[in-house]
Every structure is written in structure tokens, then in C-alpha cells.
Symmetry: C2
Subunit: 646 residues, 2 copies
């Protein structure tokens, strides 16, 4: 294993996405992506949200062995509420060097910090704490610029959507970001020990975000692959990444990922804690878990999934389920609770956990350990009992000014999805919801990115703040590089469909730009404006590889004669030549639409011929039209004719 | 081209889907698929709907050169209302041997019928006509048996779903089918000259159906490929197939497809009519179109897409659109209307078209020639003006006892989908709706099976009767074999998600069976119960190829230690050992859920420690539990332990 992590083996994809360039906006140099369009369309470049970090910046120097620049370091230190402390020493068990199956190893990250940051005694360095004291941090300013994108171009734009009670502003100000964070409706996950991350917000009133899961297991994967998956997933749009590594080398794998990640990283600390006790759930205890939280907080993990809602009394509620407890963390804690027949230490020690979180600004992602694992178990007693408890814990965390989001299902049929969103908003005081799909049917393993993409788009529309992706390998195996990309792109399109339906300002700009490109046969622009230009162009070229086809006014679906878009353009051209309004056109046409019903009625009554009755005026108008039409060149292939005979 | 259609080249996929066998049920030998499960689960085989025809029947002899057996021939002739007539002679222009780009050709189907069937003078052979006269046809009986599947096992089963006013019966009787067809709420498309087809129903109160589009264009594809795509698409679940061939050899291609298709075949006759006039829309006229309808009706086409709602007055309404008119048929007719400045002959001759339809029982699929081609154009004036006219035409067709369904969009953001369904039901008197997606965003070419699968699942839930698939190649190129499969499976899962959400009886049986298999680590059953067993197993084997892994109680996602399902099983096993009810368990636990809120409240008020207060009884109960637990073998790996150390 060791050599796979060697520098020469560590390859990641760099360079811009085709047709795009990295730009930096405003005094904080907020990173965005700009899609440059063909000069013929006379449209400005389109700005899109871009979590890919320096890897897509032609001017950035990437060195995986050194890690990314510390963008936020000065902001953090500048606040004067942190102190430097020696990093907790790495122990063998941190990398799971206990128990069976611990062979092999991973080269430690060469550029580990010896000193880490921690809040000064009594201080609280969470963004929520600043927000509640009225402080607008650079992180909040960064988020405001980042979320706005092209919105300033849309002043006075009429909102078209159904937002189910969200409060999406026409324009995002730093003050708006502060308010949302202060009231717990949004979080900015960024551990003070992860200064490499570019600030982003997760909240119902911001763009819908997506998370990609990576991480190795005792059975498959290795560090080099995981770092590559990290860079690959953010290239295609992952807003946060969770390292769900289990088995060996957890600590070192995480270090490689954190030092090279421009997006917030989340983990499930109980996985590593379990490794520290050789995989025996009953041997877990508070001290080992606490030690793991500090270890990971010092490394810079931005949010922890903690299944503190899996309470002893709820466990029997899962006994009659078709798929019982499907959350790994949930089942581990359930096993612990049963073994000791005690309440979960995650629940009883919750305030002590809060003390750790606030010292590094780690956000809670309260885990839904009792989420349904099948359509049959959706919205059951166990699920909602836990949700109720997560609501209670949210309020406790908020009493400590700690940022919180809530994890959600899972497997839910369409008619039960809205109830999940509504109950979460109500039980958790509008804390951001973060769901896994949900899958809308169980019968399509191999296609669960789609069964879940359906549920994800819907719950995103209803108010879910972040969608955890599902790959085609869900339920079947560990996703490879291709699966990660398919999962990310599927969730990006689901999140965007949700933003569109919510009437999110500027969301529609990209759809309209792409549709114009499509209608005007600007094939390259159509590819470049899509979520995956490489695949779009590759699919096009499978049937029309010739470079000339990139400007052809047809595609292989219909062929030259049949392109409806081409014919429409000709229709439009012809209509324009009449330089008349639609009204005068209607006047000249045989019958106004309002008259059609009556006409049809009488027609179907007598069952007679269908020759429409026309007025002399109408007939005159039609004759005139036909003349003009013939003059403009019989078959209307004006301009296009030359092209077509190529 | 000629040789590609030669017998030796005509290869189609035959044999059962893995883990399944073809069965024939009842006196009419209704074809179904049965998935056989592992004996260990002691569950009966699961019956699933199966449109794949004889191709998946090990006992069937397949001869593409001869075509399929004429299942319905005796039923049709037995009604005594048809006569045999000489088939219209094939003319060169039928295969588009006119104008440019007409080189090459296709071998004619060797087993063409010389004699075809037609209604006796004055007779009407449509299923709707029989239904309205109170006649229950064998076709209706076949449909009833086919739709029921496992429903009889569910008597007294409580409906779980939201059907938005549909009238889904617990059990489908032939009389129910007759009523639905009589009132126009369902259609059974089966031309009397396509006796090879197995009757199926399209209607809001039946299972949601899906359509796959195939067909060559002047640019790509050939007959051998199209016949293969036909068989391939129904293998994975396509309920009907549309032959959208353009360019040359349209007539012969269609003959090959019809004679070998067990599912209804739909076409867009205007495509062939246009070929007959060398591709010049303005040269189209009623006589050529009428001749094409008869030609195709005699061949056995089951439903015609006819864009009779594209009226002259509506064309200017498209002038301001971002993507104008995207329907091929719609744009052809718009061009014709503008050129002649006359009302569409499809509209003015509609009753004459009805006379042809009723003589062969061809169903109308009233085309939405003005459907939106982009998010920007969704639900606009042109779209709904046409829908209003389609409603008028539906009533005219119903006056002739002709079966009708209505085509719908297209590109629609999620918040505008329900309005499409509601307006269609209202405008068209609940005639079946048949939509293309809709795509919920424009920005993901290459993934439009997914952007549209989201919209398809939603509108299917709202009441859409049939979903026209979209493949990954949509907007980019002609789908190949793999694209067809991905499109079909995506739409099958969308249709099934819709049936689930509607609370369709028996739909959930398959989800539950698969979830039980998943929970019990019956990997083979999980694969076989899925929509695509081949892909599911292949994905699983990519990380765990060993045959032993097929029975392993874990997968590569989590590895042996972490499998939550395994741990849950152990938790359940342990709980069972206590042989106590959930209630007594709760009594013994530290606090009932009802008390938790208060506890947390007080806790968060004083901000004190979290040690929960317990009663002596509770403590005693816990102690007892722990003892029993330890006796049953410390770490709970009962039974599974041996396996795990393998």
C-alpha cells in the first residue's frame, strides 16, 4: 500500500473545465468560473458557482505534497481569539493499527502542521457566535459575493417560482449572510484549522448545495485514489466532501484530504473511534470518542456527523422494520446502547461535545441514525422520534452558538417527501436540512443516483439546503472515479432544478443561455454551458464527428431536412419579413382562437365538411401573405440554403 | 445498406432476463415475468409486468424473417366486422426514393401480407366503440389480468399514497377496463393489422407506462439496428415503441418493426408524407397525407401522432420564444400554414382522419407541436392555446368512438409541472396524457434522461398515463443500444416511483421484496429483483468479484466490521432473545420518549450536566439486560462470527 501514496503516484486532474476560465471577484478575490460564449451571440460570459478551487486555475501552482495555500489564515488569526497549541501526537490506533486486517500503511502527509489553532480559554470562534454579536466576518462577505453571481444583472427581474416560504433575497448582502447564520438558518462550515477552504454557506435561502462522499474501506481504495476523487468531485461541482474512510490509515488519509481541499470536509468520528477499539462497538466509551473529536478538530474537519439522536428508547421502534437500522453510525450506537443497556454517551455528553466544537468552529451535522433504509420504513415512528430529539439537540447547540445542520433520509416515496421537509423545519427551527437523496424506489440498484436524484430535486425545491449525492454504485460497491463524476453531475442538475423551481434569482440565466445556444446551433456554447462539456461533446461526436458538424444547423437526431429548430428559425425569418405584429397576423388569419371552440362545436354537430368559413378581409390578407411569401423565395430556405448543401 | 438487413445480420437478444422466467396466466395465457427467489427466504416468486414478448420465452422460436405469431388474429376476425382487402401497393416514394440523399436501400420484409384487414363498410372496429356498446373484448380481459399481477395477494391491503383524484381499483376487472375505455380515460392501442401485439392499456388508473423511441434518420442508423433496438427496448420494459424513422426506407423499416413487435407501435405519419414530397413542407397536401395514413394503417401502426392542434393563429405566439417550435411535426405544419397562409389541413380534415382511424382501430396521439423546448418557454400562451384545441379535437374523435391520448411537454421546471397535468385533465376530459419527460432544467445535455426522469416521475404521480423516454443522447445525437437501455430503465424507475406514490396496489411488493433481500444479504435476489440485474451484479463484482461475496454478509462499501445491516440483524437477534415487547423494553429503559422533551428543556435551562435521572426500576431493568447480553456472547457476533473471520 505504501507506495501508492508516493508523490509520483499522486495524480489529480488540473486545468480549466473546457470553455471556462477561473476569475476572482471583488476585494476578497472570490473564485468563480466564467463560461465564454461565441462572439456571434454578442452575449457576456456567464458566471457560474465554482467550488473547484485552485485546481482549475491555470495560474495556480498545485503541489499535493505541500497542500493548498491558507486562504483564511490571516482572517482567523486577525480576530485575536485563537492561540497556537502543539498538535496532539499521532498514535498507532489513530490509523487503526489494532486488531486484525491492519497490514499495509500510507505515507504520512509530509507537510503536517506541528502547531494548530484553538480558541483561547473561554472564547468561542464559531461563525454563529460572531454573527450573533453583530460581526460580519470576511467569511460572510466571501459567501455574499459568491452567492450573487449574475444577480446584479437582474435588478427588477420578476421572480418565477414557488419557494414554500423560503426568504430568498434578490441580492445577497454580507449582512443578510450574518443574519441567516445568527438565526441558525444557514451555516458556514470552516474549522479554524482548515484555512485552505473557500467559505461557502449551507442554508435554505442560498443556492442548494451538494455533498460528495469519498473515503476508503478495509476492503478497497487507497489514499492516492481518495485525493484524486476529492479533486475530481469538486471539479464537477461538489460543494462539500465527506471523508467516510473506515479501516486502516484513517488519520493519514484525512490529513492528505484536508490539506488539499478548498471545500469543507465532513467526517463521522464514530468510525475512527470504533477502529481505535478494534471494531468492537461495546468497547467504545466517551474518552475514546472525545479524544477522536479533538484529534479531528485539530486536523481541521469542518463538520462532524454525530448520531446523538439514536436514543436507547428508540431502538425497539426499529425491530419491526423491513431494513432495521441502515446508518452505520446509528447501528454502532444502537449496538452500544443495547450492550450496556444505557443511554447513548453521544446524547448524555452532548454539552461536552459542544465545548469542543466551539473551540475550533466545527459544525454539527446531526446524524439521522434511524433514517429509513427502504420505502417500507419511510416516515415511521423511529425516524420521527429521532428527528424530534435532533430538534432538541439543535436548540442546545444554538445555546452554545454552535452551527448545526440536520441529516435526513434516505428512502422515501414521492408522496412522503414533503412531510420530511415540513417536519424538519418545524422540529429543528429551520436549521439547514441535509438529506441523502431520498431514493424514491428501492427497485433500481445500479441506478440509485437517479432514483435518489428525483427525491433530491424535490426536497431541494421544498427547502432542503444540501443534497448528499448517491452514486450508481450505492448498495453495490465503492464508487470509482467515474461513479463519483456521475453522482456529482446528477446532484448538480437536481440542485439546479430545485433552485429553478424555487425561483432563485439568476438560476434561470444558465438555462436560457444554453437554450439560446441550442436554438442558434452554437454547438460549442451548448457543450460549454452544460454541467459536463466533455460528455456532451463526446456524445455529439459519436454520430457527427466532423468538425464541420459543430457549426452545422442540424444534428444526427433529425438530419438536415428535419431540424425543427432550423425550420422555426425560417418561420421566424419569414414572419419578420411581414414586419407585422402578432395581432395583425391574427386578424389576417382565418379565425381568432376565441372563435375556434364554436366553430368546432357546430362542425361536430352537423358532422359536415370542415372547410372553415372565412371573411373577405381574411381572404385578402391571406392572398397578400402568400404573395409576399412567394417573393421571399418559395421554399423559405433563405440564407440556410447554402449551408445545407454543404 | 442492403446487406445490413440480410438475415445473417439480423441479430436480436433473446432468452430470459437473469433470475426470471416467462409465465402465462389464465385462459388467455397472459404473458408475465416471474422472479424466482432463494429458497432460504421462503417467499413465492414475484410476478412483474412484462412487455418483452416471446423474445424472453425459452420455449418460443424466434424468426425475425417470419415475424411473430398473430396472437389476436382470431379475436379480430371472430368479431365479424372486418373484411380482407388487397394491401395498397408499395410505391417508390413510400421509401423516400425521391429527392436527394436517397441512395441505398433496405431488403423488404420477406413475409409481407398481401391481404390486410379493414372494417366492413360502415363498421367501427375501435376498442372504444365496442366498450361503448357494452362489449368486453378479449383485449380488455387480457389487460385486466395483465394489470393485476400480485394484487389478489393484497385483499384488504391499506392503500398508502396520494393519487390526486385518480380512481385506481383494488382489483382490475375486465368490466373496469371496458368502462375506462368507454369513457375515454384509457386506450388499448392495437390496430387490427398488428395482431402480433399483446394488449395493454394506457390510462391514469392503470400502471404508468413508458414509450421508447427508435428509428433511423437520413444521417444514421439502419434497419438491422432498429429491429435490435425494438427487441432490446421491450426487454428492459418499454410498453410501446415509436418508429420515428425519417429519410429513406421508411416503409420497409416500419414493416420489419411491426411484424416483430409484441408491443403497440406508434408513428408520426407527417414524417413519411414529407419524404414523399422530397422534404418540401409547402408541397404537402391532404391527398398525400391521407394516402400515408392508409398505407401505415394497413401495415398495422397502432397509434398516430398527429399535430392537428398547430393552428395558423397560434404560430405568431411562438415568435417571442427562446426556442420557438421544437416539435418536428409542429414546425413542418407551421411552415406549411405560413407558406399557404391557410389553416392546417390536419385540423380542417380532422373528421376525415377519424373515418380512417375507425376502420383499423388506430388510436390518436394528438401531438403537442407547440410544446416548450426550453425552461423559458414552459406553460406559455402558444402551448396552452394548442392544448385547448387538442381538447376540442378529443371530443370530436370521441364522437366517432376513436381512442385518443394527448401528448405533452417537454421542458418544464418543477413548479410548473402540476399545472400541465391539471390543465390537460380539464381540457381533454381525462383522456390519457403522454408526456416527453418533462426536462426540469436545460443545463445538462448528456444527462437529459435524468433531468427528464425527475419531471417524468412527478407528472406520472400527478396522473400522466405514459412517459416517453429520453436518452442520454437527447439534444446531441441518435441513441445507440446502450442509450436505449439507460433511457428505458430510467423511465421504468420513474414510472414505478409514480405508481408507488399514487399508492398503486402491488407496486410496493417489489420494493419490499428487494429490501428484504438486501437486508438479508441475498445478493442474487437483490440483483434479480432489480430493473437491471446485469448491471447490478456487474457493479457489485467490480469490487467483490469472488463468488463467495454473493453470500457475504457485507459489501465493499463498508467492509465486514461496519455493515450496518449486519449489526442491525444482530441487534434484532439480541432483542429477540429478551423475548420482550417494545413496551416492556421502553419501561426498562432510562426514560420514555414522551419524557425526553421535558428532560432536555430543563437541562438546557440550567445548562448543567447531562447525567439522566433514572428510577431504581429502570436501573434494575438495565442491569438485567446487561447480564442477559453478556451471557448471549459478549460481542453479539452470534452466528455471523464464523463467517466474518473467513
Amino acid at each position: 500500500m505504501a507506495d501508492v501514496a508516493a508523490p509520483t503516484e499522486l495524480q489529480v486532474t488540473t486545468g480549466p473545465i473546457r470553455g471556462s476560465r477561473k476569475i476572482h471577484v471583488g476585494p476578497l478575490n472570490v473564485a468563480m468560473r466564467e463560461i465564454v460564449l461565441d462572439p456571434s451571440c454578442d452575449e457576456p460570459p456567464l458566471r457560474v458557482y465554482d467550488p473547484s478551487g485552485p485546481y482549475t486555475d491555470v495560474n495556480a501552482r498545485i503541489d499535493i505534497m505541500a497542500g493548498l495555500p491558507e486562504l483564511r489564515r490571516d482572517w482567523i488569526v486577525g480576530r485575536g481569539d485563537v492561540e497556537q497549541v502543539a498538535q496532539r501526537e499521532v498514535r498507532p490506533e489513530d490509523n487503526g493499527q489494532l486488531g486484525p486486517d491492519r497490514s499495509g500503511g500510507v505515507q504520512p502527509f509530509p507537510n503536517v502542521r506541528k502547531q494548530v489553532l484553538r480558541a483561547k480559554p473561554g472564547a468561542n470562534v464559531s461563525q454563529m457566535h460572531y454573527a450573533r454579536r453583530g460581526i460580519v466576518t470576511p467569511e460572510m462577505e466571501y459567501v455574499a459575493t459568491r452567492e450573487n453571481l449574475g444577480r446584479e444583472q437582474l435588478i427588477g427581474h420578476i421572480r418565477d417560482g414557488q419557494d414554500f416560504g423560503a426568504s430568498i433575497p434578490d441580492y445577497v448582502t454580507p449582512e443578510f449572510v450574518r443574519e441567516e447564520v445568527a438565526r441558525g438558518r444557514a451555516i458556514i462550515p470552516n474549522n479554524i484549522n482548515h484555512p485552505e477552504s473557500e467559505p461557502m454557506a449551507i442554508g435554505r435561502n442560498f443556492l442548494v448545495k451538494i455533498n460528495a462522499n469519498i473515503g476508503n474501506s478495509a476492503v478497497a481504495s487507497d489514499v492516492a485514489k481518495e485525493v484524486d476523487k476529492l479533486v475530481w468531485s469538486i471539479r464537477w461541482g461538489a460543494d462539500t466532501v465527506m471523508d467516510l474512510s473506515t479501516g486502516r490509515n484513517i488519520h493519514d488519509t484525512r490529513e492528505w484530504i484536508l490539506r488539499n481541499s478548498p471545500v469543507p470536509i465532513g467526517t463521522v468520528p464514530i468510525y475512527q473511534a470504533l477502529e481505535k477499539v478494534g471494531g468492537i462497538a461495546e468497547d467504545l466509551d466517551w474518552e475514546i470518542f472525545r479524544d477522536t473529536l479533538i484529534e479531528q478538530a485539530e486536523q481541521g474537519v469542518d463538520y462532524f456527523t454525530i448520531h446523538a439522536g439514536v436514543r436507547l428508547p428508540y431502538i425497539p421502534m426499529t425491530a419491526k422494520r423491513v431494513t432495521g437500522i441502515v446508518s452505520r453510525g446509528g447501528s454502532i450506537m444502537a449496538k452500544w446502547c443495547l450492550a450496556h443497556h444505557q443511554e447513548s454517551f453521544l446524547y448524555t455528553r452532548f454539552e461536552e461535545i459542544c465545548e469542543i466544537m466551539k473551540a475550533y468552529d466545527v459544525a454539527f451535522s446531526l446524524g439521522d441514525g434511524l433514517r429509513p433504509g427502504s420505502i417500507a420504513d419511510a416516515n415511521d415512528e423511529a425516524q420521527f422520534a429521532e428527528l424530534h430529539t435532533l430538534g432538541e439537540l439543535t436548540k442546545i447547540a444554538w445555546n452554545h452558538d454552535i452551527q448545526v445542520m440536520i441529516e435526513g433520509p434516505g428512502h422515501v416515496p414521492m408522496h412522503k417527501i414533503k412531510a420530511n421537509m415540513d417536519k424538519q423545519l418545524e422540529a429543528c427551527g429551520e436549521a439547514p436540512f441535509y438529506t441523502l437523496g431520498p431514493l424514491t424506489t428501492d427497485i433500481a440498484p445500479g441506478y440509485d443516483h437517479i432514483t435518489s436524484g428525483i427525491g433530491a430535486a424535490m426536497i431541494g425545491w421544498f427547502g432542503c439546503a444540501m443534497l448528499c449525492y448517491v452514486t450508481p454504485k450505492e448498495h453495490l460497491g465503492l464508487p470509482d472515479r467515474d461513479d463519483v463524476k456521475v453522482g456529482v453531475v446528477t446532484y448538480k442538475l437536481a440542485a439546479h432544478a430545485a433552485d429553478l423551481a424555487k425561483g432563485h434569482p439568476a438560476a434561470k440565466m444558465r438555462d436560457d443561455a444554453l437554450s439560446r445556444a441550442r436554438f442558434e446551433f452554437r454547438w460549442r456554447d451548448q457543450f460549454n454551458l452544460s454541467l459536463d462539456p466533455d460528455t456532451a461533446e463526446q456524445y455529439h461526436d459519436q454520430t457527427l464527428p466532423a468538425e464541420g458538424a459543430k457549426t452545422a444547423h442540424f444534428c444526427s437526431m433529425c438530419g438536415p431536412k428535419f431540424c425543427s429548430m432550423k425550420i422555426t428559425a425560417e418561420v421566424r425569418e419569414f414572419a419578420a419579413k411581414q414586419n407585422q405584429s402578432a395581432d395583425s397576423f391574427l386578424a389576417a388569419s382565418i379565425l381568432p382562437h376565441s372563435g375556434a371552440a364554436g366553430e368546432v362545436a357546430s362542425r361536430s354537430d352537423d358532422g359536415g365538411g370542415l372547410a372553415p368559413t372565412t371573411t373577405p378581409e381574411a381572404e385578402a390578407g391571406m392572398a397578400a401573405m402568400s404573395d409576399i411569401f412567394k417573393q421571399t423565395g418559395s421554399e423559405l430556405y433563405i440564407g440556410a440554403a447554402g449551408r445545407e448543401r454543404d
